[in-house]
Symmetry: C2
Subunit: 395 residues, 2 copies
């Protein structure tokens, strides 16, 4: 009996444990000081009423013999797949309902998608990076190469002719940097993938935050249907982090090694997945209705205004950052050449504001800190005032 | 770019497609004859009211800021893990709450568990077999060996010293045969696994149907905590096939290759899973309450009585079968030496009853047919009468 020894190559992440530990120590020493947690990577506003109503309706149907639902289709109910295809149409992108696979979330899918690819592929990820792409592929024994995101490229890495990746993870708008690719930049990636027989694994989990006309889907780019898989989620779009629903789109034209990747994924899901809870699928479909999208946009606007408040303050202070405009995340350069953890400590101790040290997302994150727009308006405004006061006195 | 070429080794299953096709052809030719579908592998009674109520309460909590829930713990909420541990206690088995991992179903977990094991392990499955164990391991490139289930061993394969499996899938009560291992038989497997450094992957999805005192968990067997992982589900226990919730138990003592398998699975789930929908977890916990179990047992009793009706008729006709007593499944020998598909056609054409040909579950299933107890009482009684009439006239 051998375990999967690739697990030995995983680097344990102490990021959130270390944040919790330093924060707890501060609170213990200063029980009367009110902390504002601006590192939150999770939504805080309640579900839109239309989603709650649909969850309840789905539950009621399960309680009555005539409307009871047993095993769902592995790929999702048609009414949800159609709703997702309609959502894409609403921003001008065409995907067929039968190219949409409903799942319990983009995280599961970005990890599990590896099942359909060989273990000897090379995987490109950006640095800094959402750790799931790295860890899932280390578990599978794949070689990882890193595309550095730097101030010089506005934290948007572009194709590097010296690397030959087979699988390319892109996340736009990015977690953790909030930076969003333009259509021109995405076209460069699509062309590169098509030329090199690579597959782009495109995480669009934050697409609903885009406001400046940047592409909301890789499939807005010509040529993407022969080289890309897209993952998306209702987690940030509609506050579904605790409700759990996402979707993955694989075009029929996407063929590698003589195999349709859509068919391989169907076989993978049919074998190792059994579909999404019926009431959750009802809620997902409700979100994509006209009234659903109206309710969703109210919540998004609240977070977007928080992001604007933070961005405006950084602009005022002349601090470099990415995100904030197309994203709930703001990725800022630590002032005065401070390291990620030094600035984290300064904010914690002197302003009682908790951020997330950028170094926790990769080597290129050193010297940066992530703030998020998921706290309340009042706390966001106060956190920004505290930071401004601290930096005007210490600079 | 290489796809996972292990997919080429998967054998496409035409079982249910072929059943659907033959059934549709019959219906087309005889539109006035009423079919009774006794091959159904899915529950048909509605969710217990307490589960519906809990789903609704969970949905309501998500709709209010003060009770909103974001990302769940990967391993499940403590209140559900405690409820599962309490359920085990109710039939005399001790597992700790922090050994319980809540998931979206046993199928996902029995497939995904492979992630923590090396690809060079040999996997033992019984024949006939639930196809997920086979296909998930073929996808991972593992060698599969088969332990034949035969009339001679009452369809309960026992350890074979000539094989050296590293991973052993057991399902008891079995899908598709309904046969349940005794404590003595399970002890032989546990001893074998401990002696050979193997791990038993024990699928207990049908444990709630056990009525004769057979073990409801592998952990009822001494020594199992050092060699077994158990998968279970609310699908058949509480009608959750469409609601989606299961759990996997990995004891802290289970160590292989110097690694705690519980810790490896935690790391796997933390990377490639994001927890179960909050309302679904509320429903799961409700099922394990005293009132929940009372309601669940009402539904189980209904299916159990259907199984008794079928078993009694087979006893009367002198037909050999397994299951029916500790299981919703009845696995019967086709009369008069008929093959699985021959008997299927005979039942379809002459009695308008649809079963599932045993051959679809593996070579040793040839000559057998599976009936299930998930239809209504009325239909079950009528199907049995039709079969009796047919066989008394044709024999």
């Amino acid at each position: 009996m051998k375990i999967n020894r690739n697990f030995d190559n995983l680097v344990p992440s102490y990021l959130f444990a270390e944040i919790a530990s330093r924060t707890a120590a501060y609170v213990k020493a200063h029980p009367d000081n009110r902390l504002i947690r601006m590192g939150i990577g999770d939504v805080t506003l309640p579900l839109p009423p239309i989603a709650v109503e649909a969850l309840r309706r789905g539950a009621d149907e399960l309680g009555v013999k005539e409307t009871f639902k047993g095993y769902p289709e592995y790929e999702g109910y048609d009414f949800v797949r159609e709703a997702v295809a309609g959502y894409y149409r609403s921003f001008g992108v065409t995907v067929a309902a039968d190219e949409v696979f409903i799942s319990d979330g983009a995280k599961s899918d970005t990890g599990n998608i590896g099942d359909i690819f060989g273990a000897d592929n090379t995987v490109l990820v950006t640095d800094p990076v959402y750790p799931v792409y790295v860890d899932a592929n280390i578990m599978a024994g794949r070689k990882i190469v890193y595309a550095p995101c730097l101030k010089e490229n506005d934290f948007l890495a572009m194709p590097d002719k010296s690397l030959s990746p087979d699988m390319i993870y892109l996340c736009s708008p990015n977690n953790p940097t909030g930076a969003a690719y333009s259509a021109e930049q995405l076209r460069a990636w699509v062309d590169y993938a098509n030329e090199h027989d690579a597959v782009i694994l495109y995480d669009a989990a934050y697409e609903a935050f885009i406001t400046d006309g940047s592409p909301r889907s890789i499939f807005a780019i010509e040529g993407a249907r022969t080289c890309a898989i897209e993952f998306c989620s209702l987690s940030k779009t509609a506050g579904f982090t605790g409700t759990r629903c996402g979707y993955t789109v694989i075009p029929k034209e996407l063929v590698r090694d003589g195999h349709s990747l859509r068919d391989l994924w169907y076989r993978r899901q049919a074998t190792k997945f059994n579909g999404v809870s019926y009431p959750v699928q009802c809620a997902a479909a409700a979100v994509f209705s006209e009234e659903g999208l109206r309710q969703v946009h109210e919540n998004l606007a609240y977070y977007q205004e928080n992001a604007r408040v933070i961005s405006a303050a950084l602009d005022e202070m002349g601090i470099y950052y990415t995100g904030g405009k197309n994203s709930p995340y703001i990725w800022l350069e630590c002032p005065n050449g401070l390291g990620s953890w030094e600035f984290f400590d300064l904010l914690l101790n002197e302003a009682q504001v908790v951020g997330t040290p950028g170094e926790g997302f990769g080597a290129q994150g050193e010297g940066y800190l992530r703030l998020t727009s998921f706290n309340s308006r009042e706390n966001t405004v106060e956190a920004v005032q505290r930071i401004k006061k601290l930096l005007s006195s210490s600079v």
